[in-house]
């Protein structure tokens, strides 16, 4: 088993999920409340990465942030840094493929919360930010938790887009899923099996753990 790959998988999945929560949650909230023409198109665009083949996403990402692209060139000249063949590129790939799970689930959670609670909070003199943190998030807590778990699991298992964007360099950009591919290619079936089972168990443990957390959460209530 490639321990470096296991470590990198965690590193990439956690970073990408943290990013998905930080960016995706406010975005999901905005999508749930905003009314503007083109909202349906934007919702569909958010869904797209969930349905497109990861290789297609990887290809687009490469076009957008690769060394030849404007963004990639800028990053390289200013920061002396390229996403391609760097673990941060794997984070980007994982983020793009996994954030939609969080956004869609959280958006549904925000939409199902009765707006009367935020209205009540407004009449009680609290600021919009305070209301978001104390009412909106807790009331959509279960949906957010479920979305986060799915995003984390999806990020941990990301393969296609990662391979396209950062390749499969052991010790640098190799995650468990790409390491499994390598092992199979090299006929190291035993290795592949251990890693595959590990990844499956970690993902399962994650989902069960978060499910339990949601049930026993102090924010849960009976309807």
């Amino acid at each position: 088993m490639e321990l470096a790959a296991l470590r990198l998988t965690f590193q990439v999945a956690l970073t990408s999920t943290a990013l998905a929560v930080a960016v995706g949650l406010p975005f999901a909230w905005w999508l749930a409340r905003a009314r503007f023409p083109g909202r349906d198109l934007l919702s569909a665009l958010v869904l797209l990465p969930m349905l497109l083949p990861p290789t297609v996403l990887g290809y687009f990402l490469l076009q957008m942030v690769g060394r030849e692209s404007a963004v990639g060139g800028l990053l390289e000249s200013v920061l002396g840094f390229s996403l391609v063949f760097h673990w941060s590129g794997a984070v980007l790939a994982a983020f793009v493929t996994s954030a939609p799970f969080l956004i869609r689930t959280a958006q549904a959670g925000f939409e199902s919360a009765d707006p009367v609670y935020t209205e009540a909070a407004r009449t009680l003199g609290r600021s919009e930010l305070a209301i978001f943190m104390t009412i909106t998030i807790p009331l959509a807590w279960k949906a957010i938790l479920a979305g986060t778990a799915m995003a984390l699991a999806r990020a941990a298992g990301e393969f296609g887009a990662t391979l396209m964007l950062v390749g499969n360099v052991p010790g640098r950009t190799q995650t468990l899923s790409t390491a499994i591919y390598d092992a199979v290619q090299a006929d190291r079936t035993g290795d592949a099996q251990i890693m595959a089972v590990t990844l499956a168990l970690v993902t399962l443990g994650l989902l069960v753990g978060i499910g339990t957390l949601a049930k026993g959460s102090t924010w849960s209530w009976r309807h």
Binding site: Y117, E119, A121, R122, T123, L124, G125, R126, L139, R222
Partner: protein
């Protein structure tokens, strides 16, 4: 107490609201049927709905002024709002709901305030409960306490007692008055219930179809409805159309489908068409004995002390109160039908319900309200 002045127009879909009223302080009740625009009025005052034009001012402070594109955000309006379904935060305990508006207070002060409110509202022992573990009356009290915690200038209440049982209503009415006496806030509540509006308020605003029909001090509005529409909303059950047949000295006589009603002098001209309103509870009806039935009861202008002859058509018995539907009679043909609210001790008893028994109906001159014009077709007598 802060005065509330509102004169604005608001729309919701195809509904158009034209609200203009003034609350000098105390408690005002907006009375009206569903669809009158009561809740939209409250939401506009709270800033939860944005009027299209007009102004709203509270205690000399402008909350909304369309001309100057001014609209104070809801969280800066210094008001409390008790929602119809209470809107207690389901994920917070009772005490957490109570201190929610006190986030800017020092923790200790907020705690003291919460326990003071728990005491005032008789909620001690329920601090740790969640809203789902409360009865409707307890939820109502927590909602009231939460809305009042930060000492708002204005308290808005949407159908505050509609979901509560009668005994709980009575005790909450009392508690509400005590709170208001202690805290000195102005209150504006909406309700479709006349008794609730009257018992809670000092000021009545009668609304229908997005318009204010009448407003003023509660007793004057209640006892002197400005028009038949307001009268109907204020619980006047008998509203009909008649003609002035005589206007002499200190009384006016009205003919309603052949029946003559005597009223106080009105200044109306002879032959003028008028709308007539009579409160059901101010009419006295009683069955008459066989001897009287056989006597001279043909004349409609009966001697003093005598009532109008009538036939009992229907009784709705509510235990301590009865609602009687009586058809007044004129000679051989039938006159208008009147609704009479009787108490168990007066007028009605089981034996008297038989349709064959003659009844006599007394309508005091002071109970008859007159408005020039006819009853609007949209508001037929109930």
């Amino acid at each position: 107490m802060a005065a509330l002045s509102a004169d604005f127009q608001a729309t919701a879909g195809s509904f158009h609201l034209q609200a203009a009223f003034h609350v000098p302080g105390g408690t005002a009740a907006i009375l009206g049927p569903s669809g009158a625009g009561k809740t939209l009025t409250l939401r506009s005052v709270a800033g939860l709905a944005r009027p299209v034009s007009g102004t709203i001012a509270l205690g000399g402070r402008t909350l909304f002024d369309a001309k100057h594109s001014l609209s104070v955000a809801t969280n800066h309006r210094r008001l409390g709002y008790v929602f119809q379904e209470y809107a207690l935060f389901p994920h917070l305990r009772v005490w957490e709901n109570l201190v929610y508006p006190l986030a800017a207070w020092p923790k200790q002060k907020a705690k003291e305030r919460a326990s003071q409110l728990l005491g005032l509202l008789r909620l001690q022992g329920l601090e740790e409960r969640r809203p789902t573990e409360l009865s409707a009356g307890q939820k109502q009290r927590v909602a009231l306490g939460r809305a009042l915690a930060a000492s708002p200038q204005l308290l808005l209440l949407d159908e505050p007692f509609s979901a509560l049982d009668t005994p709980i209503r009575a005790s909450l009415t009392e508690q509400f008055r005590e709170l208001q006496a202690q805290m000195g806030f102005t209150a504006l509540l909406v309700t479709h219930d006349v008794a609730e509006a009257y018992s809670l308020s000092s000021h009545l605003i009668v609304m229908e179809q997005g318009r204010v029909l009448q407003q003023g001090e509660r007793a004057s509005v209640y006892h002197q409805p400005a028009n038949p529409e307001a009268a109907r909303l204020l619980g006047v059950q008998n509203i009909m159309t008649g003609t002035v047949v005589a206007n002499e000295g200190h009384e006016t006589v009205i003919d309603v489908d052949g029946v003559r009603l005597r009223t106080l002098s009105s200044g109306l001209r002879r032959g003028e068409r008028v709308a007539v309103g009579i409160r059901a509870e101010e009419i006295v009806a009683q069955p008459v004995g066989a001897a009287i039935v056989n006597g001279d009861n043909r004349a409609t202008d009966r001697a003093p002390g005598g009532g109008l002859p009538a036939r009992l058509e229907q009784v709705i018995d509510r235990g301590s109160r009865q609602r009687l539907l009586l058809r007044l009679r004129v000679d051989d043909h039938e006159g208008p039908r009147v609704v009479v609210e009787a108490t168990g001790s007066r007028g009605y008893h089981e034996g008297g319900a038989s349709a064959s028994v003659e009844w006599t109906v007394d309508i005091p001159a002071t109970a008859v309200h007159l408005w020039p014009g006819v009853v609007h077709p949209a508001s037929p007598p109930s």
